[in-house]
Structure formats: C-alpha cells, structure tokens
C-alpha cells in the first residue's frame, strides 16, 4: 500500500509541476513522462505481488466529509485492473513525450497535468473502498479526460465531442450516486464493506442504475454515443489510455456491483447478454463503415466491451442457473480480455497516432503506402491488428477462446442456457470474422499500396520515443499471448476476490489444460513460421528478391486512384448491413455516353445518436424553451428567484 501511495503522490506531484511548465514544452514533456513512468513502475510492484500472493490490504484515513472515509483497498481484483493501468500509462507517457512536438504552438503542460491526474484518478477508482471517494475519483477521471478531449479546442468537432462527453459523464455519475445511495440507505454507511444486499425490487433498481452508470462509462450500445466522438478527438496516447483502460473502469464497477448485489437473478444475466450481443455486433459493423482510423478503433473498442459484457452476462446467468464451469470460464475470459484488450487497443491507437503524426491525417481514403515510409509503425500496427482480430499467437485469442469454451460447455445444459450459449457463439464468431474485415481494411488502406495523397506520400517515421512506447505494448501483446497459462493464477485470484473462492477453483480447473494446449500450439505455429523463414532464406541463397510494379494486365499508366480504397474494400459488407448502418450515399446519376466529371460520397453517421438521442434532445429543447420567459436577463429577478427558493425551503421545514 505504501508503494501505491508513493505512486499516487508521484502522479499528483508531476501533475502539479507540469502546470508551471506551460511555457517550456520540453520540460513539461520530461516531467510529465518521468512522473507517469516512475509512478507506474512503483505501482506495478504491489499490484503484481497482490495477484501472486492474494491478500487484501486496506488503508483507512479519517476524512471530514460526511459519510466518507479515505479508504483504499488493494485486493486481487483491484490489482488485476491496476496492472493494465500502469503498463498503459507508462507506455503512453513515453509515447506522449514524443507525440507533443515542442515546435508546435500548443503548450503540452496542461495536457500532461490532465494526463497524470487521469492516471491517478483511475488508480483511485480501482482502489476506493468508499462510495464517496469512489465517486470523487470517478468525477476527477471524467473531468481530467474532458480536458484532454478538448485539447484540440480550435476544432469544432473536438468541442462537440467534449460537450457530449461531459454530458454523458454527468449522467453516468448521477446514476451511480442513485445506486450507491440505494445501498447506503440500507447500510447506514457508504463503505463498500458495510453494504448489505437490498431486497427484491430495490436490488433490481440498484442493478439497473449501476448498469446505466457503469455502462455509460464502458460505452456499451446504446449508451456509447460519446465514445466514437471523444476517443478520436483526444491526443492519440490519451485515446490509447481512454480506450484501453478508462472504459474498463465501467467493467470494474460492474463486477464490483455484481459482487455487492449477489445472489443474482437470471434476468440480470440476460440483460447483460443482450447488451453485450448488441454492442459486439453493432460495434464491429459500425467500425466497418468508418472512414477515420481513430473512429474505427473507437468502434472496435465498443465491440470488445461488448464481448466482455457478454461474457459477464454468461457468467451471471451460469451462476444463477447453477452452471459453475460456464460461469467460471466466462468470468475468467472477461477478465483476460480486459487485460488483453487494454494492451492491443493501446498499441493500435498509438499506431493510429503515429499515422496522424507522420501523415497529418487519419482519414483512411487519403492514406496508403505508409509501410514503406514508416515500416516500424506499420509492423507494430499490423501486429496489434492481428491481436485485435484474435488471431493466434497474439493475446487477443486467449480471452475469447475461454468464452467460447464456456459457451460450448453450456451446450448440454438447460434449454434457455443453451439458447444464450448458441447466441453468444454465433455472434462472437460473426463479430470475429467482421473484425478481421475491419482490420484488413484499416491496415490495408493505410499501410499497403501506393499513397493516395501528397500528405501520405510525404509521411515520415515517428521518433524513438513514440516507437519505444509502441514496442513496449507490442512486446506485452506477444508475451501475454504466449504466456496465457501463466495468467491463470492472477485471473483466478482476481476472480476469487470478485466472485468467491468457488469461481477460483472452477476457473483454474477448467482453464488450465486448454490454455497449456493453446500455448503449445502457439509455439508450434511459431516454429513452423521460423522453419519457413529459414527455408526461404536457404532457397534465396543470399540473392535479393526483385520487386517490381504490380502486373496490371498490360495497362501502362496505373495511378494510385485505381487501388481498392477503404470504402470500396468494405463495400460488399457495408451494403449488406445497410439497414443497420444507414449510410448516407450521394451517388451521381450518369447519363449519356461521355459523362462529365462526377463525384461520389458516403457518410456513416452515428445511427443511434440520430435515431434515438436526437429526437429526445429536440423534445427536451422544445420543453426547455417553453420556460425561456424565466430567463430574461434581469439580474434582480434572478436574485429574487434565489430568495424565493430559500424562503420556500425555510417555510417547508418549519
């Protein structure tokens, strides 16, 4: 615990110091990054130790706020979520030191302050053992990331994104306050340890409001509208942290809330399963339609959150129906995917940032051929993309594999579990295939072929710091892919802290053999690749393979515009999903034998926002303007309102 406090202090101290470095970008970069990296190194130690030797440490300091205590508890579940926080914070900080260019006009001092505060707030969210402290850290997390989203405040899109983000954060916090007060009323205190499970409808209300609050942060569909706006707007290493770990605070909260509300009703599981299925499928379909690389990655995060929530739902349903092996495998798969998604999504966002940094745009139709210009970033991005598609031997595979295993194990259970398992299997495999299409499109359009614009042609490789940040995460992706059996112990201790000892035993029993086989298969795969590479080298015998232009059926003047573009690559699939996507297509009518110049455009708007939220917002706005006569700009009357309200309160209590 002492190390964690030291880590938090380092983060806060460096956040404070960078405030004063606004005029000196190099110094701000140094202090911010050094603070974050050292804090992560210090913080990782107790987190890993708690995972290997499960024990719960509590630190409780008196705090004069009513109902509150400054209680931090480090148990294996917190530690499991802290590990990706610290890894990703460190990698992102190293990357960020190269990402904020000193020659740019905008000073990075305040961005570093917000970044380090964000890291500290996330750590406190995972550690807090008191609802007031939890909510406070939750709000600090929201506000500091808001300042990072609005970093490019001269762009209207960033301002809109930040506004939506702020509103979503406030709505989520409101739901959480309601949920915690439901629990607190019964217990008479707001310490997590003091909470008792509420009865009947109260428990359902608490579950639903926790689901609303944490679901908003996690970004499950249909509560995701802020996510594809906010994540692309932030600087790329911040997007990496937000997508990699910040949305996982929602998952963590959900797991904690489930722990507080156990035993569960089966319909809770069904709710989570349906939300998970929807997020998983729609997330990946929406990702397919995006033109902006970072937006695509944001939608892919929604898909992965969907997978995790789906797994949690399967676990809840399995526990409620008494199918413990299913529950253990699903919960374990969910936790493993939390860790793995943090690593590969962080890597991917940093890769997108490298593209943005090098070519000046993340618009996929404007890029191309970057693998020749920035080979290292291209290699690392493709590696991350392979992990995101759950391709062996990378780390995305293991978590989904366990969820599949759990679903298969449930197939000879009672009828409605079979239905859930079949749905999960179908959607997971469909989403997996679509994810492959998404990332082939992204990697192909951005890195392969020839540059489509001048900007892409003039792209430059990123600096050593950015490469170092990405390499760190890429190494973590490969290692945690091969080392899946070694992750059984941490995952099972975390499961024990979250759901009880029984889950731990079930999980380590059910997951050990498959994961060991998996690693053996991965090693065999690596060996085959190595043998093939050796063979190739042998056959080449030191000669250089010749590279020439693609054979184009004898056409003599190919241009970059003749390549498959990002949209044309995904067109067959997006056309199939058009009823869901509702892309607006602007197709020119071509008449006559020698048509003139024509242009085609397509736009993937946010379907859920346009068809679910926008009508509600219009209604609310109309309702609000009915009361606009109250807002006439006369100060005296405003004060009169306050006086009247105070008097009413006084008289009401008399």
């Amino acid at each position: 615990m002492l190390f964690l406090l030291l880590s938090l202090s380092l983060l806060c101290l460096s956040a404070l110091l960078t405030v004063f470095c606004n005029a000196r970008p190099e110094r701000a970069n140094f202090i911010g990054a050094a603070g974050a990296v050292s804090a992560s190194a210090v913080g990782l130690f107790p987190a890993v130790r708690t995972l290997l030797h499960p024990a719960a440490e509590t630190l409780s300091l008196p705090w004069p706020v009513p109902m509150a205590s400054f209680s931090l508890t480090l148990d294996p579940l917190s530690a499991f979520f802290l590990v990706p926080v610290f890894i990703l914070t460190a990698a992102a900080a190293i990357y960020g030191a190269g990402y904020f260019r000193p020659e740019e006009k905008k000073a990075p001092g305040l961005a570093w302050t917000a970044f380090n505060l964000l890291s500290a707030a996330m750590a406190v969210v995972f550690l807090a053992a008191n609802a007031v402290l939890f909510l406070l850290a939750w709000e600090v997390m929201g506000v500091s990331s808001f300042f990072l989203v609005i970093f490019d405040h001269e762009k209207a899109q960033a301002r809109k994104a930040a506004y939506i983000y702020l509103v979503a954060g406030a709505a989520g916090a409101l739901a959480l306050m309601f949920a915690f007060s439901l629990l607190g009323v019964q217990a008479g205190a707001l310490d997590f340890a003091a909470f008792k499970r509420p009865e009947g409808p109260l428990a359902a209300a608490a579950f639903l409001s926790f689901l609303l609050g944490f679901g908003l942060k996690a970004g499950v569909i249909p509560l995701h509208v802020w996510l594809p706006e906010a994540h692309p707007a932030a600087p790329s290493h911040v997007s990496a942290v937000m997508s990699g770990v910040m949305i996982k605070t929602g998952i963590y909260g959900l797991i904690r809330a489930l722990g507080l509300l156990s035993p569960w009703a089966p319909w809770w599981g069904w709710t989570l399963i349906l939300i998970g299925l929807g997020s998983c499928l729609l997330g990946v379909v929406f990702a397919l339609a995006q033109h902006d690389l970072k937006r695509l990655l944001a939608y892919s995060s929604i898909e992965n959150i969907g997978i995790i929530v789906l797994a949690l739902g399967l676990g809840v349903l399995g526990t409620a129906m008494g199918l413990y092996p299913l529950a253990a495998l699903a919960f374990g798969g969910a936790l493993l995917h939390v860790l793995n998604h943090a690593l590969f999504k962080g890597l991917l966002f940093m890769g997108a940032g490298a593209v943005l940094h090098g070519a000046g745009t993340a618009e996929m139709e404007a890029l191309g051929g970057l693998s020749k210009r920035m080979p290292r970033a291209a290699f690392l991005f493709v590696l991350g993309a392979a992990a995101a598609c759950a391709l062996p031997p990378f780390n995305g595979f293991a978590g989904e594999f366990l969820i599949y295993l759990g679903a298969f194990s449930a197939l000879n259970g009672p009828a409605n579990i079979v239905l859930a398992a079949l749905l999960a299997l179908a959607v997971l495999s469909a989403a997996g295939a679509l994810a492959l299409a998404v990332f082939s499109k992204a990697a192909g359009a951005v890195f392969l072929g020839e540059p489509r614009t001048q900007a892409a042609a003039g792209a430059h490789d990123c600096g050593p710091l950015m490469n170092a940040g990405m390499t760190l995460l890429a190494a973590a992706c490969v290692v945690s892919g091969f080392a899946a059996p070694f992750l059984i112990l941490p995952v099972s201790t975390a499961l024990g802290a979250a759901f009880g000892l029984r889950t731990t035993l079930d999980f380590s029993g059910a997951a050990a053999t498959p994961l060991i086989y998996l690693t053996a298969a991965f090693l065999a795969l690596a060996a085959i690749v190595w043998v093939l590479a050796e063979k190739r080298r042998f056959f080449l015998g030191g000669r250089q393979p010749a590279a020439g232009p693609t054979w184009d059926c004898g056409y003599a003047a190919p241009s970059a515009r003749m390549q498959y573009g990002a949209s044309s690559f995904s067109q067959p699939l997006t056309a199939f999903f058009q009823p869901l996507l509702r892309k607006t297509l602007n197709i020119p009518v071509i008449a006559g034998y020698f048509p003139g110049k024509a242009s085609f455009s397509s736009e993937a708007r946010s379907v859920v926002f346009d068809h679910l939220y926008a009508p509600v917002i219009v209604r609310l706005r109309g309702l609000a303007f009915r009361f606009s006569w109250l807002q006439h700009g006369r100060l005296q009357f405003y004060i009169l309102y306050i006086v009247a309200a105070l008097m009413a309160l006084l008289l009401w209590k008399l």
């Binding site: 807002q631 700009g633 100060l635």
Partner: protein, 223 residues
C-alpha cells in the same frame, strides 16, 4: 435583559426602514455603515458588562471594517464610476416601505416559529431576519450595481445579528469568517463594477440583458 441592547435593536430596525425609503446613494451608504457599527456594538452591550479583551478586539475590528473600510470602498467605487447620486429604484418608495414593514411582520412571525435557543435580548431574531429581507429588497428592487453591493452588506449585518442570537457563546469566530468572505466579495465587486462601467458606460444591471445568450440559441444552434 439589557435595555441598551434592546434600544440598539430598535435602532437597527428603524435603520432598515430608512434604507428602504432613502433615495440618495450616499445616505444609503452611510445608513448601512451606521447599521454595521450598531450591530458591531451589540455583543458588547448584550454581554452583561463583562468586557473581555478578545471580544473587544473583535468588535473593534468589525466596527472598523463596517464603519470605515466598507463605506470608503463604496464611496470610492461611486466616485470612480461617476454614477448618478440617486439609488434608481425599480419600484416606488411607498411600496418599498410597505414591503419592508411586511418583511418585519413576517420576520416576527417566523422568529416565533423557528426553534432557536432563547437569547437574552428581545426581538433579536425578528430584527436580524428583517435586516436580511431588507438587504434582499435592496438587491432586487434597485437598478445600480452599487446598491446591490449595499444590499449584500445589509444582508451581512442581518446574518451577524442572527449569529448573535444563535451562537450565544462564540458568535465572533463564526462572524469573523463570514466577514472575511464579505470583505473579499466587496473588494471584487468594487473592481468588477468599475470595469463594467468602463465597458458599458453605465452600471445599470437592468440593461445587462444585452449579455444574455438566449437570443442566439433560439435559432437551434449546436447540440
């Protein structure tokens, strides 16, 4: 108990009425200052003759601040902004005094209903509430920004007297904290008023609705 203290209370109530009817800005500033001094003397008079050093020091500080520093700041703000010399009420003086009397009646009723510890001095709770209401009256029915600062000070006087009624033991510590807040507030307001008058050539809060933003948002605007 203490006749002198009760007389002071009556004096404060009369000052409220005077504040409600007086039309000259400088008179209003002076009246508020006199009220502040009277309120500052109150704990000494109600203390039953036992003059402790600390209470004396507090009282002296309060009287200095309310009787000298605040009026000086207000006069200075008025001079600098070149405001006209009348308070520019939004409602007539007869209605002002009727409202003030109504406020006193309401405070008497409210004072009898509030569950407060009994204090030695009669009418202290109604007087404090009436002073607070008079302050609100000044804020809401006068157009100039300076009058609103004035109303704020009158409210503070009322809160101070109320504090005397509530915290019979240690009123001064609480009061000191409030007073420091008010001091900073008056200071800031003085500066703000000066800047507003330089920017807009007047300090009529009435006309500040040109700053309102809802004319634009009626168009639809951004979501």
């Amino acid at each position: 108990m203490s006749t002198l203290a009760e007389l002071t209370i009556v004096f404060i109530i009369l000052l409220n009425l005077a504040l409600a009817v007086s039309g000259s800005m400088s008179v209003c500033i002076r009246l508020a200052a006199i009220q502040g001094v009277a309120a500052g003397l109150l704990p000494l008079l109600a203390g039953g003759g036992v003059m402790r050093g600390r209470a004396m020091a507090f009282a002296a500080f309060i009287i200095l601040l309310k009787g000298a520093v605040f009026p000086w700041l207000m006069f200075r703000a008025r001079e600098k902004t070149g405001a006209r010399r009348d308070v520019d009420p939004l409602i007539g003086y007869p209605s002002s005094i009727m409202l003030c009397l109504g406020a006193f009646a309401a405070s008497s009723w409210l004072g009898s209903r509030l569950p407060l510890p009994h204090s030695g001095v009669a009418f202290i709770v109604p007087a404090s509430l009436a002073t607070i209401f008079t302050g609100f009256l000044l804020i809401t029915t006068r157009a100039k920004a300076i009058t609103q600062v004035l109303g704020y000070l009158v409210i503070e006087n009322g809160i101070y007297i109320f504090g005397l009624a509530l915290f019979v033991e240690q009123p001064l510590m609480v009061e000191l904290a409030i007073l420091l807040d008010v001091f900073v507030a008056v200071f800031v307001m003085g500066i703000a008023i000066f800047h507003i008058s330089r920017e807009f050539d007047h300090i009529d809060t009435d006309q500040m609705d040109e700053l309102t933003d809802w004319h634009q948002s009626e168009e639809g605007g951004n979501i």
